[in-house]
Amino acid sequence: MSEQIREYELGMHPELPPPNRQSGLVKWVMDNLFPSVGSGIITVICLIFLYYVIPPLFNWAFWDSVVFNATSREECYAINDGKGACWAFIYRRWDQFVYGFYPEAERWRVNISFILLAMTLVIVLAEKVRKVKGIMWLVLILPIICAILIPGSELLGLTPVPTNKFGGFMLTLIIGMTGIFVSLPIGIGLALARISSLPIFSVFATLFIEFIRGVPLITLLFIASTLLSYFLPPGTNFDLLVRVLIMVTIFSAAYLAEVIRGGLAAIPRGQYEAADALGLSYWKSMRLVILPQALKISIPGIVSSFIGLFKDTTLVVIIGLLDPLGIGAAAIADIKWTALGYELYVFIAVFFFICCFGMSRYSLYLERKLHTGH
């Protein structure tokens, strides 16, 4: 065995693997977890925190003799000593959580509406489907069918279902989706009015937007539930849900208007002038030139407004509509299921998290895809 010493010409030495400390797991750990003493201490604190929070939480929610099938809290606790979560009441009242008090015989209408809604989402979201000619009309038509199907109408031979029977996630989706569908066009209108060169329109739009944005949604909902009837002709009787829908929609529209106004402001002046130079009328220039660009750059803001709107639907419980929180409150008011607050709140939180997180991820994806750069 002899040590061979070879000489290389300058720059001809084959690449050697990096030393151990500079590669693989060790390097990653050193770089990402312990880049410095202070940072290392923080890492350790975080890991200890996670160790004390995550395993007990998982145990409670999933592993520690969780009970799905019991008829009362006592029964749950008899099985698991009150250690694990008692999801049984959600299982027992699943139908209420989904449909509220919607009559059982008519629930197929809600189910069909769910399917139609899913189709609408697919059309809007999936690019390939969207490109099919004329399919965008379905986006308008399907929600209308839902809007007729769910409350029902004598004319079509569907038994009308009073709106106070609506509840649960179905109600959340009704309020959220109506808000999203209707507030977008209103928001665009308000934004255009606000930047309009006609002073009166701009003043009215500004006043309206600032008023709505200046007050909490809950006060508007209080007005909807108690005061609105003072403002309407004597004897007029609007359905409470419709009043709530109107309030939620204008609330969301005011926020959207500001987002879209930001988008409009970001369009270079030259685009407006170019559209004018082509002799396009105001509406045509907006529709063909300005709005497509403005909406594109407003997408993140629009989606986060939608997420906000969707989360805000929970507020209706305060004026007595039976959204999932309301249904849940009624469930844990039942003597059989008292004091199951954690289970209830965690369950609803997971539902909202999935919906809202999904929306925000989609918006990120869109943002990246549409980022054409300048």
Binding site: Q96, F101, L140, P143, I144, C146, A147, I148, P151, S153, P162, T163, N164, T178, F181, V182, L184, P185, I186, G189, S225, T226, L227, L228, S229, Y230, P233, P234, G235, T236, N237, F238, D239, L240, L241, V242, L245, T249, I319, G320, A329, A330, I332, A333, D334, I335, T338, A339, G341
Partner: protein
């Protein structure tokens, strides 16, 4: 702008009874349903069971009115209301009658523009404490935290009682009885105060009902009853007499089971007048059919039956008749209805 269409259609489909009409009775008839405001969930008075069917003493008042007006006790749409919004909702005409453990006071009767159509439960505000505290009188509650439902007369009585007795307390406002129970069982407060009947209801919902006592002091008069708007006397009369019919039926021994049979009993003019077989035209005077009271009794029962079914000693609430017994029961009863003749 086309996207506005669903909204427009929605409104068209949902706006109900948008035409002003002469009276509540006509509204109820044309809708073929009675809209009745009840509690969001108070055991024994108004609460939906597992199948979503509403049950309770207040619910029975609604059903009685529906039976009298529409001939069918099932034609009621129950609108659960918090104590906070109930009067506004009634005043706005969204409901036809409010039957929601509502205390009859002068301010409400006059100042709020309402009419109280009788008393379906004589109640009073009391205190519930855990036996562990070793408290036997409300006078020993100095310094306690007290859970109290907001938007009611309860907080006024509470404040007055403690002030008059020179005691301090920490009010813990809760919005609904559900919230109240959650806060109370978690130990947020030492004492729970509301009407004694509701205390009994709350107690059934606690984990160990036997561990709680209701203190002997009743600090207020709380006559609870159905409420209607000012300005529609005919409707006021109907609500008032629907309730009176139930009381009279109990007094005359007419029950759901024997009402049809008793209506044929020619020897008892009082029963015949009540059940509309005396040809006295009493129903017509109210603007109803002659069998209005018969419908109430056969479908809902008399007051005593309703009481025992919903809040009586055999129910989880276990309330004695007490003041709510009939005036002639020889005990403490003060339920007294004017005669139907």
């Amino acid at each position: 702008m086309k996207k506005l269409l669903p909204l427009a259609l929605g409104i068209a489909a949902l706006a109900t009874g948008s035409i002003a009409s002469a009276g509540t009775l006509d509204d109820v008839r044309s809708n073929d349903v009675l809209k009745c405001g009840v509690s969001t969930g108070l055991a024994g008075f108004a609460t939906p069971d597992d199948t979503g069917e509403w049950q309770g003493l207040d619910v029975d008042t609604c059903r009685a009115i529906a039976a009298a007006v529409l001939g069918d006790a099932k034609k009621v749409e129950f609108v659960p209301l918090t104590s906070k919004v109930r009067f506004e909702v009634l005043k706005s005409g969204e409901i036809d009658v409010l039957s929601r453990v509502t205390t009859w006071t002068l301010t409400r009767d006059v100042g709020l523009g309402l009419n109280f159509a009788g008393v379906n439960y004589y109640d009073g505000q009391g205190f519930m404490v855990s036996k562990d505290l070793g408290v036997s009188s409300a006078k020993e509650l100095d310094g306690a935290s007290v859970c109290v439902q907001t938007g009611t007369t309860t907080e006024l009585n509470l404040s007055e009682y403690f002030r008059l007795n020179g005691m301090t307390y920490e009010p813990v406002p809760v919005e609904t009885s559900t919230e109240g129970r959650a806060a109370y069982s978690a130990g947020r407060c030492d004492v729970y105060t509301t009407d004694a009947s509701a205390l009994a209801a709350q107690r059934t919902g606690l984990t160990n009902p036997g561990n709680y006592v209701i203190l002997p002091e009743i600090i207020s008069k709380e006559p609870l009853g159905p409420v209607v708007r000012h300005g529609d006397d005919q409707w006021f009369d109907i609500v008032k007499w629907s309730h009176n019919a139930m009381l009279n039926a109990e007094e005359l021994g007419v029950t759901a089971a024997n009402a049809v049979e008793r209506s044929k009993d020619a020897n008892n003019p009082a029963v015949q007048k009540l059940l509309g077989t005396a040809d006295a035209g009493l129903g017509k005077q109210l603007g109803l059919s002659e069998d209005w009271a018969l419908n109430i009794i056969t479908q809902v029962g008399n007051y005593g039956e309703s009481f025992e079914r919903n809040v009586g000693v055999k129910t989880p609430l276990g309330l004695e008749r007490g003041m709510n017994g009939l005036w002639n029961d020889g005990k403490t009863g003060i339920q007294y209805a004017p005669p139907i003749k």
